[in-house]
């Protein structure tokens, strides 16, 4: 999605904070941040990683530097482009002036060879928040791939897809009551932006406040 159009869509939908979580990649985040500079929209640097088991995990990071350190690991652990080559023309890096700066030549559609716990360990190592993506989905989720949310993965939160929503997630997964739930649009195109969001009680729209809300500290919390 073009950074300016994405920012415009987010602002129009009344979103205060948006995490950019491209699959196994992060080069577009800076451009969205720049496009959002003249707005009150807060952009969180993130990534959606595919584990070896083909579960999706969201990493949210405090800043670009941390996601870039994590990115180095992720690129090392994706297969060589020779296997499973897909169209890199579908992986453009677009700046805030809508110019294509280049193409991501890594096989982003692929899984990394990192098992689930290694992915969450790395996210935590780089000071990030690890969230299991769309656990209600019947594919590419921790639940679909493993049948359980392993405690050892130490997820900071679990995401429920927009079609089900947090309330639906609580009904479906009573055994996961101890985890904070979020819901997001998981937008891959402009029309999906804002299709779902998580409402949180925060002092300000930033990463550290989200962390507090997930752990229900300091009066910050997620509205369910």
């Amino acid at each position: 999605m073009h950074p300016r159009a994405l920012v415009q869509a987010l602002v129009t939908k009344g979103i205060d904070i948006a995490a950019i979580t491209d699959h196994n990649a992060s080069e577009n985040i800076i451009h969205v941040m720049r496009a959002a500079r003249d707005t009150s929209l807060a952009i969180i640097a993130g990534m959606e990683v595919t584990t070896r088991e083909e579960a999706h995990v969201l990493g949210l990071f405090e800043n670009l530097e941390n996601v870039q350190r994590f990115q180095k690991i992720v690129y090392k652990r994706l297969p060589d482009t020779a296997d499973g080559v897909q169209d890199c023309e579908n992986q453009p890096i677009v700046n805030e002036r809508e110019e294509v700066e280049g193409f991501n030549m890594h096989p982003l559609f692929n899984a990394t060879d990192m098992p689930l716990n290694e992915v969450t360990d790395y996210i935590h190592h780089f000071g990030g928040i690890a969230i299991a993506s769309h656990i209600d989905r019947s594919f590419f989720s921790v639940m679909s791939q493993l049948g359980v949310v392993p405690k050892e993965a130490r997820f900071d939160g679990l995401e429920i897809s927009s079609s089900l929503g947090i309330a639906g997630g609580r009904r479906w997964f009573p055994e996961l009551a101890d985890y904070p739930f979020i819901s997001s649009s998981d937008a891959h195109s402009l029309e999906d932006v804002g299709s779902s969001c998580t409402r949180m009680h925060l002092e300000s729209p930033c990463f550290e406040e989200i962390r507090l809300a997930l752990s229900r500290q300091g009066g910050r919390y997620i509205l369910e």
Partner: protein, 111 residues
């Protein structure tokens, strides 16, 4: 041996492209991890899987599979069939589970 012959021998249910089952079958692959199938299957393979979501079409198209066979009578998702028709990938269904189905197809291919 082509896809139509396998459909007849194994009594498979054809979910789309019933008039385009002439592709030559070179072998088969069983797998539910897309990254594994992308790395290890080959052109002309029958891909046997329990996955029903639309991403299987992208994989089968990329690897030039002869067809996808979904096991345990699972239904391909609606958007999967739509994509399959667009991409020219026949989607077949068997009530058998993968072990039994693969064993029978292997026997037919190696007769």
């Amino acid at each position: 041996m082509n896809v139509q012959t396998i459909v007849n021998e194994l009594n498979l249910s054809v979910k789309c492209l019933s008039d385009r089952l002439g592709a030559e079958v070179t072998g088969g692959y069983v797998g539910d991890l897309l990254s594994d199938v992308m790395a290890n299957s080959a052109a002309g393979h029958l891909w046997i899987t329990r996955q029903t979501h639309q991403n299987i079409i992208a994989v089968a198209s990329l690897k030039d599979h002869a067809a996808i066979i979904i096991v345990q009578g699972a239904g391909p998702d609606a958007d999967t069939l739509e994509k399959a028709t667009d991409e020219g990938i026949p989607v077949l269904v068997s009530p058998l589970h993968a072990f039994e189905l693969a064993g029978k197809i292997y026997a037919v291919l190696n007769r």
